[in-house]
Amino acid sequence: MKTDSLIAHADNILKWLESVSDDELFSALSKCEEVIYYALNHEDISSYIYSIERLYFDKDYFNKLEIAVNTYKEYIAENDEYYLLAA
Protein backbone atom coordinates (compact mmCIF):
# COMPACT_ATOMS: atom_id res chain seq x y z
CA MET A 1 0.00 0.00 0.00
CA LYS A 2 1.41 3.38 -0.92
CA THR A 3 1.64 5.46 2.22
CA ASP A 4 1.45 8.82 0.41
CA SER A 5 -1.82 7.84 -1.16
CA LEU A 6 -3.23 6.73 2.19
CA ILE A 7 -2.13 9.92 3.91
CA ALA A 8 -3.86 11.99 1.24
CA HIS A 9 -6.94 9.85 1.75
CA ALA A 10 -6.69 10.31 5.53
CA ASP A 11 -6.81 14.06 4.89
CA ASN A 12 -10.04 13.51 2.98
CA ILE A 13 -11.40 11.54 5.92
CA LEU A 14 -10.65 14.52 8.19
CA LYS A 15 -12.47 16.81 5.75
CA TRP A 16 -15.40 14.40 5.85
CA LEU A 17 -15.33 14.59 9.65
CA GLU A 18 -15.54 18.38 9.50
CA SER A 19 -18.41 18.27 7.02
CA VAL A 20 -20.80 15.96 8.84
CA SER A 21 -23.15 16.86 11.65
CA ASP A 22 -22.75 15.35 15.12
CA ASP A 23 -25.72 13.05 14.50
CA GLU A 24 -24.26 11.83 11.23
CA LEU A 25 -20.87 11.26 12.80
CA PHE A 26 -22.09 9.20 15.76
CA SER A 27 -24.53 7.31 13.62
CA ALA A 28 -21.62 6.40 11.31
CA LEU A 29 -19.45 5.36 14.27
CA SER A 30 -22.14 3.08 15.70
CA LYS A 31 -23.14 1.55 12.41
CA CYS A 32 -19.55 1.05 11.36
CA GLU A 33 -18.78 -0.84 14.55
CA GLU A 34 -21.74 -3.15 14.12
CA VAL A 35 -21.32 -3.67 10.41
CA ILE A 36 -17.58 -4.31 10.59
CA TYR A 37 -17.94 -6.73 13.48
CA TYR A 38 -20.53 -8.66 11.55
CA ALA A 39 -18.97 -8.40 8.12
CA LEU A 40 -15.49 -9.46 9.14
CA ASN A 41 -16.89 -12.58 10.76
CA HIS A 42 -18.87 -13.53 7.66
CA GLU A 43 -16.85 -13.82 4.52
CA ASP A 44 -19.80 -13.71 2.13
CA ILE A 45 -21.15 -10.40 3.35
CA SER A 46 -17.65 -9.01 3.63
CA SER A 47 -17.01 -9.73 -0.05
CA TYR A 48 -20.35 -8.20 -0.92
CA ILE A 49 -19.66 -5.04 1.02
CA TYR A 50 -16.27 -4.62 -0.60
CA SER A 51 -17.81 -5.08 -4.02
CA ILE A 52 -20.61 -2.51 -3.78
CA GLU A 53 -19.94 0.84 -5.29
CA ARG A 54 -19.56 3.47 -2.63
CA LEU A 55 -18.05 6.78 -1.71
CA TYR A 56 -17.09 7.41 1.88
CA PHE A 57 -18.44 10.94 1.77
CA ASP A 58 -21.82 9.68 0.62
CA LYS A 59 -23.88 10.37 3.72
CA ASP A 60 -26.04 7.34 2.96
CA TYR A 61 -23.06 5.01 2.89
CA PHE A 62 -23.51 3.58 6.37
CA ASN A 63 -27.25 3.30 5.89
CA LYS A 64 -26.57 1.27 2.74
CA LEU A 65 -24.16 -0.96 4.62
CA GLU A 66 -26.65 -1.49 7.41
CA ILE A 67 -29.34 -2.46 4.90
CA ALA A 68 -26.90 -4.84 3.20
CA VAL A 69 -26.03 -6.54 6.48
CA ASN A 70 -29.63 -6.77 7.62
CA THR A 71 -30.61 -8.31 4.29
CA TYR A 72 -27.83 -10.82 4.70
CA LYS A 73 -28.85 -11.63 8.27
CA GLU A 74 -32.40 -12.31 7.08
CA TYR A 75 -31.03 -14.56 4.38
CA ILE A 76 -28.99 -16.71 6.72
CA ALA A 77 -31.78 -16.79 9.28
CA GLU A 78 -34.01 -18.37 6.63
CA ASN A 79 -31.48 -21.08 5.94
CA ASP A 80 -30.79 -23.13 9.07
CA GLU A 81 -27.90 -25.10 7.64
CA TYR A 82 -26.15 -22.00 6.42
CA TYR A 83 -26.93 -20.18 9.63
CA LEU A 84 -25.24 -22.91 11.65
CA LEU A 85 -22.15 -22.65 9.49
CA ALA A 86 -22.07 -18.91 9.80
CA ALA A 87 -22.81 -18.66 13.52
Partner: protein
Amino acid sequence: MSLHGMHGTCTSFAEQIKINGFNLNKGRRGTGVYFWSYSSTSKQYAKSLAYAWWSFCSDTNRYSAVTDNSFALFDVKIDSVNIIDLEQHDLKLRLIKFVHDASIRATQSQRNDLVNKSYDLFVRMLEERSGPIDVVHVTVNPPAKKYFSAEHARQGHELLEAICPSCYVVRNTKCIQFN
Protein backbone atom coordinates in the same frame (compact mmCIF):
# COMPACT_ATOMS: atom_id res chain seq x y z
CA MET B 1 4.93 -10.67 4.11
CA SER B 2 5.11 -12.90 7.20
CA LEU B 3 4.52 -11.47 10.65
CA HIS B 4 4.80 -13.28 13.98
CA GLY B 5 2.62 -12.89 17.02
CA MET B 6 1.48 -14.39 20.33
CA HIS B 7 -2.04 -14.62 21.70
CA GLY B 8 -2.80 -15.57 25.29
CA THR B 9 -6.11 -17.12 26.31
CA CYS B 10 -7.52 -19.89 28.52
CA THR B 11 -7.24 -23.58 27.65
CA SER B 12 -10.99 -24.00 27.08
CA PHE B 13 -11.07 -21.14 24.55
CA ALA B 14 -7.86 -22.47 22.98
CA GLU B 15 -9.52 -25.84 22.35
CA GLN B 16 -12.38 -24.08 20.57
CA ILE B 17 -9.96 -21.97 18.55
CA LYS B 18 -8.03 -25.07 17.46
CA ILE B 19 -11.26 -26.58 16.12
CA ASN B 20 -13.10 -23.52 14.77
CA GLY B 21 -10.38 -20.93 14.28
CA PHE B 22 -10.26 -17.48 15.80
CA ASN B 23 -13.32 -15.28 16.21
CA LEU B 24 -13.00 -11.56 15.66
CA ASN B 25 -13.82 -9.42 18.64
CA LYS B 26 -14.16 -5.75 19.39
CA GLY B 27 -10.98 -4.45 20.98
CA ARG B 28 -9.19 -1.33 22.10
CA ARG B 29 -7.85 -0.68 18.61
CA GLY B 30 -10.84 -1.82 16.60
CA THR B 31 -12.29 -5.15 15.57
CA GLY B 32 -10.00 -8.13 15.01
CA VAL B 33 -7.90 -10.83 16.62
CA TYR B 34 -5.06 -9.35 18.65
CA PHE B 35 -1.51 -10.69 18.64
CA TRP B 36 1.51 -9.31 20.47
CA SER B 37 4.10 -8.89 17.74
CA TYR B 38 7.58 -10.29 17.99
CA SER B 39 10.80 -10.66 16.08
CA SER B 40 13.61 -13.12 16.76
CA THR B 41 14.87 -10.96 19.63
CA SER B 42 11.59 -10.26 21.40
CA LYS B 43 9.76 -13.59 21.45
CA GLN B 44 9.99 -14.02 25.23
CA TYR B 45 8.59 -10.53 25.78
CA ALA B 46 5.62 -11.31 23.53
CA LYS B 47 5.01 -14.47 25.61
CA SER B 48 5.11 -12.36 28.77
CA LEU B 49 2.56 -9.97 27.34
CA ALA B 50 0.30 -12.85 26.27
CA TYR B 51 0.55 -14.31 29.78
CA ALA B 52 -0.23 -10.92 31.36
CA TRP B 53 -3.26 -10.52 29.10
CA TRP B 54 -4.55 -13.98 30.12
CA SER B 55 -3.92 -13.06 33.76
CA PHE B 56 -5.85 -9.80 33.34
CA CYS B 57 -8.77 -11.64 31.72
CA SER B 58 -8.81 -14.24 34.52
CA ASP B 59 -8.80 -11.50 37.12
CA THR B 60 -11.72 -9.74 35.44
CA ASN B 61 -13.77 -12.98 35.26
CA ARG B 62 -13.72 -13.33 31.50
CA TYR B 63 -13.10 -17.07 31.88
CA SER B 64 -15.59 -17.62 34.70
CA ALA B 65 -17.88 -19.82 32.59
CA VAL B 66 -15.24 -22.17 31.18
CA THR B 67 -14.13 -25.57 32.49
CA ASP B 68 -10.38 -24.99 32.15
CA ASN B 69 -9.13 -21.45 32.69
CA SER B 70 -5.42 -22.33 32.73
CA PHE B 71 -3.07 -20.37 30.48
CA ALA B 72 -2.83 -21.29 26.79
CA LEU B 73 -0.57 -19.66 24.24
CA PHE B 74 -0.89 -19.37 20.48
CA ASP B 75 2.27 -18.64 18.52
CA VAL B 76 1.22 -17.77 14.97
CA LYS B 77 2.49 -16.64 11.62
CA ILE B 78 0.42 -14.02 9.83
CA ASP B 79 0.76 -13.99 6.06
CA SER B 80 -0.61 -11.01 4.14
CA VAL B 81 0.42 -8.11 1.98
CA ASN B 82 -2.67 -6.12 2.97
CA ILE B 83 -1.15 -4.59 6.07
CA ILE B 84 -1.54 -1.06 7.30
CA ASP B 85 0.80 0.52 9.82
CA LEU B 86 -1.18 2.96 11.94
CA GLU B 87 2.05 3.78 13.78
CA GLN B 88 3.42 5.40 10.63
CA HIS B 89 4.02 8.97 11.74
CA ASP B 90 1.92 10.96 9.26
CA LEU B 91 -0.91 8.48 9.38
CA LYS B 92 -0.94 8.36 13.16
CA LEU B 93 -1.07 12.15 13.38
CA ARG B 94 -4.23 12.08 11.29
CA LEU B 95 -5.71 9.22 13.28
CA ILE B 96 -5.08 11.11 16.52
CA LYS B 97 -6.80 14.18 15.07
CA PHE B 98 -9.71 12.02 13.93
CA VAL B 99 -10.19 10.49 17.39
CA HIS B 100 -9.66 13.84 19.11
CA ASP B 101 -12.12 15.74 16.92
CA ALA B 102 -14.72 13.00 17.31
CA SER B 103 -14.23 12.86 21.08
CA ILE B 104 -14.70 16.58 21.66
CA ARG B 105 -18.03 16.37 19.84
CA ALA B 106 -19.20 13.35 21.85
CA THR B 107 -21.62 13.49 24.74
CA GLN B 108 -20.66 11.55 27.86
CA SER B 109 -22.68 8.52 26.77
CA GLN B 110 -21.19 8.61 23.27
CA ARG B 111 -17.68 8.43 24.72
CA ASN B 112 -18.16 4.75 25.57
CA ASP B 113 -15.88 2.74 23.30
CA LEU B 114 -15.32 5.85 21.19
CA VAL B 115 -11.66 5.02 20.55
CA ASN B 116 -12.46 1.50 19.36
CA LYS B 117 -15.25 2.79 17.14
CA SER B 118 -13.02 5.54 15.77
CA TYR B 119 -10.32 3.02 14.84
CA ASP B 120 -12.91 0.88 13.07
CA LEU B 121 -14.33 3.84 11.16
CA PHE B 122 -10.92 5.28 10.26
CA VAL B 123 -9.64 1.93 8.95
CA ARG B 124 -12.90 1.31 7.14
CA MET B 125 -12.57 4.64 5.35
CA LEU B 126 -8.93 3.98 4.50
CA GLU B 127 -10.08 0.76 2.86
CA GLU B 128 -11.95 2.88 0.34
CA ARG B 129 -8.54 3.76 -1.07
CA SER B 130 -6.47 0.72 -0.19
CA GLY B 131 -8.93 -2.13 -0.66
CA PRO B 132 -9.44 -4.73 2.08
CA ILE B 133 -7.02 -4.41 4.98
CA ASP B 134 -6.19 -7.79 6.57
CA VAL B 135 -3.86 -6.64 9.33
CA VAL B 136 -3.50 -3.40 11.28
CA HIS B 137 -0.29 -2.66 13.16
CA VAL B 138 -0.82 -0.58 16.30
CA THR B 139 0.68 0.00 19.71
CA VAL B 140 -1.29 -0.60 22.90
CA ASN B 141 -0.60 -0.10 26.56
CA PRO B 142 0.71 -3.25 28.29
CA PRO B 143 -1.43 -4.90 30.99
CA ALA B 144 -0.77 -3.60 34.52
CA LYS B 145 2.41 -4.75 36.26
CA LYS B 146 0.57 -7.09 38.66
CA TYR B 147 -0.54 -9.31 35.78
CA PHE B 148 2.96 -10.24 34.65
CA SER B 149 4.70 -13.38 35.89
CA ALA B 150 7.74 -13.31 38.19
CA GLU B 151 9.76 -14.60 35.25
CA HIS B 152 8.94 -11.38 33.40
CA ALA B 153 10.80 -9.28 35.97
CA ARG B 154 13.68 -11.79 36.23
CA GLN B 155 14.26 -11.48 32.51
CA GLY B 156 14.51 -7.73 32.78
CA HIS B 157 11.42 -7.07 30.70
CA GLU B 158 9.89 -4.57 33.09
CA LEU B 159 11.77 -1.73 31.46
CA LEU B 160 10.25 -2.66 28.12
CA GLU B 161 6.82 -1.69 29.44
CA ALA B 162 7.89 1.93 29.13
CA ILE B 163 7.83 1.34 25.38
CA CYS B 164 4.28 0.80 24.29
CA PRO B 165 4.29 -2.76 22.88
CA SER B 166 2.98 -3.35 19.41
CA CYS B 167 0.16 -5.57 18.27
CA TYR B 168 -1.19 -6.94 15.06
CA VAL B 169 -4.95 -6.64 14.80
CA VAL B 170 -5.88 -9.33 12.29
CA ARG B 171 -9.16 -8.61 10.50
CA ASN B 172 -8.94 -11.54 8.08
CA THR B 173 -8.46 -14.78 10.01
CA LYS B 174 -7.43 -16.63 6.85
CA CYS B 175 -4.03 -14.95 7.22
CA ILE B 176 -3.36 -16.77 10.50
CA GLN B 177 -1.26 -19.95 10.56
CA PHE B 178 -0.57 -21.84 13.78
CA ASN B 179 3.13 -22.49 14.48
